[in-house]
């Protein structure tokens, strides 16, 4: 029987390693200042040599469980959205459920939809609980994003992720409305067996990112009956610093509404983990009764939108796990380009 559903726990994780934009620009002879101004990024996260989508998802999910304070055995489904699942064939989710003591009576699937696979995982989890199909479901977005050496993507493609547990009891943020907007748009892709994605350059902008996120926002506002000024915070998918701020401005959101979820300048683009991690940053400060909007974007292309409203239970769990801005401002281990290239396996080693 259909009922209510909302977020009961959330958590994020970013690796400790970082590389500065100027370190990458020095390597390729680009002008650091113009790159930093153009992309509005100063540095990005880099996964450790022993980190991948699975370990990042596990770390984020642990933090979500700390906030949800539920028996992991009661979680009926786990979905991990990523475009960097470590195996081509063997699920990331099976490792995660065994690491966290979830299951084995659990439905698990790995999802992929470029940068919006994490939002998809949230969407499906929410729908499961709303339908009364299960008590709890967890949706995770995590990535160790790929960007070819020397490509513009190399400045932004980073690592991190966030997990959201949906349930029907002890809800910390209700879901008031959702919407999805999807079309076949070839703006960014990666073929099988290829290490790095390709993209359509400027075609990734107006016909892809902006068309989908703006159409999704318009439909979501129309469906929910809310206006931009009704929201305390909004987060758009963050392929760079500029795109989400421009999208928000077009829709009538102010910088004050956008700044909390805009984590890209210190984190980079964590692909499937991008808008979910921005949403997690908003959850870290959202007050009871305040509303927040999350609009994801995945190339190919599509947008999932959510309207959340914090309940009276949210403040009590905000400090139960590390907050994302504290993680981004906390321990940082900076890498040289050579170290970065080795960490990301961009160097050809002998057997």
């Amino acid at each position: 029987m259909a009922g209510t559903a909302g977020i009961v726990g959330y958590g994020s994780y970013v690796p400790a390693y970082r590389i500065k934009v100027e370190t990458i620009s020095d390597q390729w002879g680009d002008d650091a200042g113009s790159i930093e101004r153009g992309l509005m990024l100063s540095e990005k996260t880099v996964p450790g040599r022993d980190e991948d989508t699975i370990t990042i998802a596990v770390a984020a999910a642990k933090n979500a469980l700390l906030r949800a304070n539920i028996d992991p055995q009661k979680i009926g489904a786990v979905y991990i959205g990523s475009e960097s699942h470590p195996y081509a064939v063997k699920p990331s989710g099976t490792v995660l459920v065994d690491a966290l003591g979830i299951g084995p009576n659990v439905h698990v699937a790995d999802l992929e939809f470029a940068c919006k696979a994490g939002a998809e995982a949230m969407y499906i989890s929410y729908s499961h609980v709303l339908s009364g199909n299960m008590e709890y479901s967890m949706g995770i977005g995590a990535d160790t994003s790929q960007g070819a050496p020397g490509d513009a993507l190399e400045y932004s493609a980073s690592a991190g992720g966030s997990a959201f547990i949906f349930g029907s009891k002890n809800i910390i943020a209700n879901v008031l409305s959702t919407h999805s907007y999807t079309s076949d748009t070839a703006d960014f892709w990666r073929r099988e067996y290829r290490h790095y994605p390709r993209h359509g350059g400027r075609f990734t902008g107006e016909p892809a990112y902006f068309k989908h996120v703006l159409s999704c926002t318009e439909a979501l506002l129309d469906k929910s009956g809310f206006k931009p000024e009704d929201f305390a915070h909004v987060v758009y998918h963050m392929p760079n610093g500029k795109f989400p701020l421009k999208a928000g401005k077009i829709m009538g959101f102010t910088n004050d509404q956008m700044k909390q979820g805009w984590v890209v300048n210190k984190m980079g683009n964590t692909y499937s983990g991008s808008s979910p991690t921005g949403m997690a940053a908003i959850m870290d400060v959202l007050k009871p009764g305040e509303k927040a909007m999350m609009i994801s974007f995945g190339s190919g292309a599509g947008s999932d939108g959510f309207v959340f409203e914090a309940t009276d239970l949210l403040p009590a769990v905000q400090n139960k796990a590390p907050k994302i801005h504290d993680q981004l401002d906390g321990k940082k281990l900076y890498l040289s380009y050579g170290q970065y290239a080795a960490y990301r396996k961009k160097i050809m080693f002998n057997d």
Partner: protein, 129 residues
């Protein structure tokens, strides 16, 4: 690790720090059948809390082949709150921060890769707090 079958058998202890607590109080991981001090054979399974204290450490400069690209790296013997002693790699930490008596957190990481086509092995490693 030798193969995917052995890896699968060891998941409980490698992923969830599932240890044995014998009736005489001895806690161990990996598993054994007899407590070394008293010969006790009855035990219960417990999940270790993912924190501990460094008892001893060294910096590995000449590692086994499969860890060659990671050297140099610290390896420590740590003791968990339950009194269980583990040998573990220390990651994401500056060498000068690795000290006897220092507190660590155990985190879930990739341990090794079985070449380019074999399975990925996951388990616990330690980060200095």
């Amino acid at each position: 690790m030798a193969n995917s079958q052995r890896y699968t058998r060891e998941i409980a202890r490698r992923y969830r720090l599932e240890a044995q607590k014998f009736e005489d109080g001895f806690v161990c991981l990996p598993n054994r059948y007899v407590s070394p001090d008293t010969g006790a054979t009855k035990f219960e399974k417990i999940n270790l809390k993912p924190t501990g204290t460094i008892l001893a450490f060294t910096i590995i400069h000449i590692p086994a082949d499969r860890f060659a690209k990671e050297s140099p790296f610290p390896v420590a013997i740590i003791e968990t709150e339950e009194g269980c002693r583990l040998t573990t790699q220390i990651v994401d930490s500056k060498f000068e921060d690795v000290k006897i008596g220092g507190k660590v957190e155990l985190v879930f990481r990739k341990a090794t890769e079985e070449g380019d086509s074999g399975i990925l092995n996951y388990g616990y490693k330690a980060i200095v707090l």
